[in-house]
Symmetry: C2
Subunit: 220 residues, 2 copies
DNA sequence: ATGACAATCGCACGTTCGTGGTATATTAAA
DNA sequence: TTTAATATACCACGAACGTGCGATTGTCAT
């Protein structure tokens, strides 16, 4: 292996995965024009990149599109992260919908840029990611916070009493009516009554339904 | 009300809540030196700001510290967002632990800066937030993505088959064994057998247990 | 071709659950 | 003081569940 020769030292290596030929060439050129950076590989699909990853050293950064033929970028992130956890993956795509953003970041992307970003921004983002940051386009950062604020849903209030909430928790934790009764030093019948009331308030009619609702609406 | 007089037009109004006198004066001066911005109020506590909010127009932006006497900044965010949903809240604090960041962003903050940010960064962040962005210090953005990638826990693999996962989903959605059978055009007995196998694989022995596990471990 | 696995189907028995009632004591609000 | 809400307790019956035993079929890799 004479891969990392003198010529390459201090050069950060970037791979590019992008199915659009024109865009691929543009970015490729952009990176190679930047001192200290090198785009050693540019692929059309994740599959190609993965096969090369078996024989070559992984790059510091992968610039990754999402809308790709075959394996999507999202799926790709997971593969790359498994094969080379230290490689930073920077999404560069046109998609700005919540789901794609959410999935990409959950999968382990280190940044998310939209394709309308200026060349400066793109190079700046690569540098930022290399120094431990998490570059995002303005709209994406905004979406991320939006996702966050929806994450903690305003506890839907079904008017459960304290006792009922307490029993719901124990129910979620997997206890039977009898065991809940034992735990709270109550009669089985009392727990039974509480459960009936909980079901009415949550509009369900099974333990399972109550548990599902408890999780979906953060009642736990 | 002659509040928004000619003098103020095109001036964005910023409030500052910060208990450290020195820092408060510094930031106050910084904002007022910036053309197009005005820091009309600087408070030591959220409580003071809230009381003033009852008589004055809310600002476009509130620069908010977290470590405050009395009501914490996190609690403050919720109050402010209730009283004036359109006001952007920009956290400016020394705290960079996951919990504070998570809570602040969940509560509806529009950005999160650390106090070691340069004056330029702070002013730039205010501008960014006003134009719909979500400014974050580099470390914070990184933490945010970190939180994201922990959000979707690596699907613990209990070796459920496709059929079993499918049935688990229906179970979570609240169906009884018989209804699951109907849905999938299977015999009741088949579903029963699948459930038995699911229970073994998930190490549970009730529907409720399976559902709880499905939620907690993201098997859905 | 043998074995491992997945998916399908069957029965029986005991346990737990869901639901229809009823009832009492305490507390807080009207 | 009456009313409403909460927490407590009891019973009975049918429905649903959990589990122990089977079984047949197809697929796929060794």
């Amino acid at each position: 292996m004479i891969k990392n020769s003198d010529l390459e030292k201090e050069n950060f290596n970037v791979w590019l995965i992008e199915d659009n030929l024109h865009f691929r060439r543009t970015i490729n050129g952009l990176i190679n024009q930047t001192p200290g950076m090198k785009c050693s590989n540019a692929f059309e699909t994740c599959e190609e990149a993965i096969s090369v990853l078996e024989t070559e050293f992984p790059p510091q950064v992968i610039l990754l599109d999402i809308g790709l033929p075959g394996m999507t970028g999202i799926e790709g992130i997971e593969k790359f992260k498994m094969l080379s956890p230290s490689t930073h993956i920077l999404i560069l795509t046109i998609y700005d919908d919540n789901e794609k953003v959410f999935d990409a970041l959950c999968a382990g992307a280190s940044g998310y840029l939209l394709k309308d970003s200026s060349p400066d921004k793109i190079i700046g983002a690569i540098e930022e990611v290399l120094s431990g940051g998490a570059p995002m386009s303005m709209q994406i950062a905004h979406k991320v916070l939006e996702i966050f604020s929806n994450l903690k849903p305003k506890k839907n209030d079904y008017g459960l009493t304290d006792r009922e909430s307490e029993i719901l928790k124990l129910m979620v934790s997997g206890l039977t009516k009898q065991l809940i009764a034992d735990q709270l030093f109550l009669s089985f019948h009392t727990v039974n009554t509480h459960l009936k009331n909980i079901y009415v308030k949550l509009h369900v009619n099974t333990k399972s339904g109550a548990i599902t609702k408890a999780f979906k609406e953060n009642l736990i």
